[in-house]
């Protein structure tokens, strides 16, 4: 650890060049750094070079018509405090509030959360439910991927060597909600978390579940049970039961499989009802 080098490139090109200065695993990207500190002290193969993104011009929130674009290095607390967020993307607002604590969110970023791709991420389920697009930039230019194709598995993403997450794009405001269960409200990992959203443009629901390895997933079998923007109680219960039955869920030290299936069912019901009952929900 004493041989660690810290660099703060002043441009995107310089940052991309820095990523290519070492073998994979030797170079670590620092966005907010709240997860990186564990990597520096815990791992057997700890990084030797830290590339801080703090001088890059990516601490941005941009509302352009229906589209929200969030710069990857914007602290989550700044996004949470954006005056439009809670009304236009209530589920995203609630999910951000579930991340760590205020102190942690002053540094933690959307880009860092996505790039880390933890199975415990509280943001990936809601990004799935909102059909978020991940914008990347790298040695061969810029590209973007839907979050579903960006997160490949536990701690695995589609980022190519030398690529950085530049921004996350949300195509339209959606009535949405995020519900979770955990032991401690702050600074804890959700045993199960559920994001629900209704897409006005597609006329259909998105249900995504987090807290189960390897990664947050959408549950199309359950989405298909919700037949309109104002589903009946029977439809809501049917969707929740189906999700609880279909998902691949295991027991680990945080919760048993049985308890998690129970949580999936309960939290899907609560999240969908919250969307329907919200001011802009269900038309």
């Amino acid at each position: 650890m004493s041989s660690l080098t810290f660099v703060t490139p002043a441009s995107v090109d310089a940052a991309i060049a820095e990523l290519r200065t070492g073998e994979p695993g030797e170079v670590a990207v620092l966005a907010g750094g709240t997860a990186l500190l564990f990597a520096l002290e815990g791992a057997k193969a700890a990084p030797r070079r830290v590339v801080s993104l703090r001088r890059l011009p990516w601490r941005t929130v941009d509302w352009n018509g229906p589209v929200l674009t969030v710069g990857s290095t914007l602290p989550l607390r700044s996004l949470e405090r954006d005056p439009e967020l809670a009304t236009r993307h209530p589920g995203l607002f609630e999910a951000i509030r579930a991340v760590g604590s205020v102190q942690l969110r002053h540094r933690a970023t959307l880009g860092g959360n996505l790039g880390r791709a933890s199975p415990a991420s509280d943001l990936i389920p809601v990004l799935l439910a909102l059909d978020a697009e991940v914008e990347m930039v790298g040695p061969t230019g810029a590209r973007s991927l839907p979050v579903d194709r960006f997160v490949l598995g536990s701690r695995r993403t589609a980022l190519a060597p030398g690529e950085l997450i530049r921004a996350v794009r949300f195509p339209e405001p959606r009535p949405s909600a995020y519900r979770w269960q955990r032991v401690r409200p702050a600074n804890d990992i959700s045993q199960i978390a559920v994001a629900a959203a209704f897409s006005p443009s597609a006329g259909s629901w998105r249900l995504a579940v987090g807290g189960i390895p390897p990664r947050g997933v959408r549950v199309p079998e359950a989405e298909a049970m919700l037949l309109s923007s104002r589903p009946t109680e029977a439809e809501i219960r049917g969707a929740a039961e189906r999700a609880a039955r279909h998902l691949t869920i295991a027991t680990d030290r945080r919760a048993s499989e049985e308890y998690r299936r129970h949580l999936v069912e309960t939290l899907i019901e609560r999240a969908v009802r919250a969307v329907v009952e919200s001011p802009k929900g269900g038309r």
Binding site: L30, G33, S101, Q103, H106, N187
Partner: protein, 158 residues
Amino acid sequence: MTPPPLLLTVNGRPRPLEGVPASERLIDTIRWRLGLKGTKDGCRTGDCGACTVLVDGVSTLSCLTLTHEVEGSSLSTIEGMAEDPVGRAVQEAFDRAGALQCGYCTPGFVVALVGLLRERGRAASVDELLADLGGNLCRCTGYLSIARAVALLQKEAP
């Protein structure tokens, strides 16, 4: 390979620091390099909030922050709170409410609350402030008196 010197402003005074390794955490810089032991070292994993300081006015976990990452920033620790009107008000409220027992978590709670009041001011309700203090743990479980201190503050905001 000597790392370059870096500059921090600590409780209003410029503090140039020589030879800070790239791997040094802000909490260790504060406690061992600057000798300011008021900031407490609780868990070193971001769970307890005892190490909370203000970096450019916003509450930050100094245990999860590399010192080099905040180069050039202005830092406020518990030692600087008496010179700040909000800081003084929070400390007086903790005093009046008896909001400490062993005291280990107190600097973190005070600094976190000062940060919240600077962000939200009088607009924040007591319940919102308490929810936003969720990242701070009190292992004496003295939460009721801490809640009383917050209530005192919002009735008599600075």
